[in-house]
Amino acid sequence: MATPAFEEIAETFAFMEDWEDRYRHVIDLGKAMPALDDNFKVPALKVDGCASQVWLRPMISDGVFDFQGESDAMIVRGLIAVLHALYSGVPTAQVGAIDAPAELGRIGLNEHLSAQRSNGVRAMVERIRKVAAAA
């Protein structure tokens, strides 16, 4: 079981056969996600290896992982929201144990994780794991 927030997303996706519906939902999740303040759109928080611009601001307190993210591409923004559901509220020590490809696979979005995709989801997952490991 992943976080309740991710399980809720997984449940919604379970009823979607069509890629169009899936994408629509991903885009809606991105739209619903709070925007990252422009002050945090700095080079240190930018995730390299993304074709669009992606920022990731880690927010760790009391050993619990959380982050804010943003992208100028809407699908990527939605995927950030999915990652947020997957990682937010997880104890920092357990972040590395989350199998992101398997979890995204459950909702049919694992195609975005392959090494050669330049949408940045893989780079974001790597950044999340690195930040959590260093905390």
Binding site: W19, E20, Y23, I27
Partner: protein, 406 residues
Amino acid sequence: MLDVSKLRADFPILSRQVNNKPLIYLDNGASAQKPQVVIDAVTQAYSHEYANVHRGLHYLSNLATDKYEAVRGIIAKFLNAGAESEIVFTSGATEGINLISYAWAAPRLRAGDEIILSIMEHHANIVPWHFLRERQGVVLKWVETDANGDLDPEAVLAAISPRTKLIAVTHMSNVLGTVVDVKKICHGAREKGVPVLIDGSQAAVHQPVDVQDIGCDFYAITGHKLYGPSGSGAMYIRRDRQLQMQPFLGGGDMIREVSRDAVLYNDPPMKFEAGTPGIVQQIGLGVALDYLMDLGMANIASQERVLRDYAQSRLQGLNWLHVQGQSATKGAIFSFSMDGAAHAHDISTVLDKRGIAVRAGTHCAMPLMQYLGVGATCRASFAMYNTTEEVDSLISALELCHELFN
């Protein structure tokens, strides 16, 4: 007119599916698909006719050399060069333009000398000249396009000063589709004694090219866009310019004699072809060019004009879509962005789901994108095997994007 359904049958990849949809390949500006005759030629060469060229005296080496060298004549015919020896084999336009930068321009240009470029050049026709700016103080002078994306030949000629040593300009923009009147530029430049290099990477795919009629000094083509193998290509270098060039890469094939204290170079064009070349790639390119000449470049041009007109009118019907470049000379290359929040990568991701391949990004033309004031765009670039039905599919997918991202 060409029989497009017959033409499509020559390209096996066009009948495959992508994401459970029939492939609609609109990324031809990046690289074109290969007809079966080219695939067969590559297989045949490796299966039965392969050895190194120019070196051995054995049967296979002679056979491979004959097949490989015959391509020089095919390219000369394709470009209507004055002589086969004016065709230098390259791995593509990038290597060809770098060759001219290193072998012709670098030894001749001094600090303060000028190279004129258009703002719509591909990085391959920019960065080799930046090398000369960085390393020896050469000045790059940029000529901008007008609001329609046209490049006025008079503006290029007006930029010539006594320090101008070269004009390097594209024949067809890979972003705007604009076809440049290179003949006018070459004739005007010649009157002022300024050589002209033309990047024909896009243009040679879509229309007949006659380098003698154009009157250029250098003309670059790249095989992979011409339905040939990647790693194949050629540079037309007029004889008098060849005689002004130093060698670029040193190694086998480009020398006649080497001793401890001296080297004697081979004659052009081999003087500029060091090392074992892309033997099979060039053989494949020869077959691709024969295939194109059989179809007729003028026929291909008229076929694609119909496609261009249809795509243009359908795209213009989408009032939330912004196409870059409205030149009357425009080929079937459409770079666009969309009203609303859609990023180029969003659009290309959704199009891909519909089996439609386009490019998203800055198209290796960042100075042009900066000039146009746009970030990443999507580019649909058509080829002779594309159909008006595929245009309809593109439009329908774009309408979906507009709905999703609005």
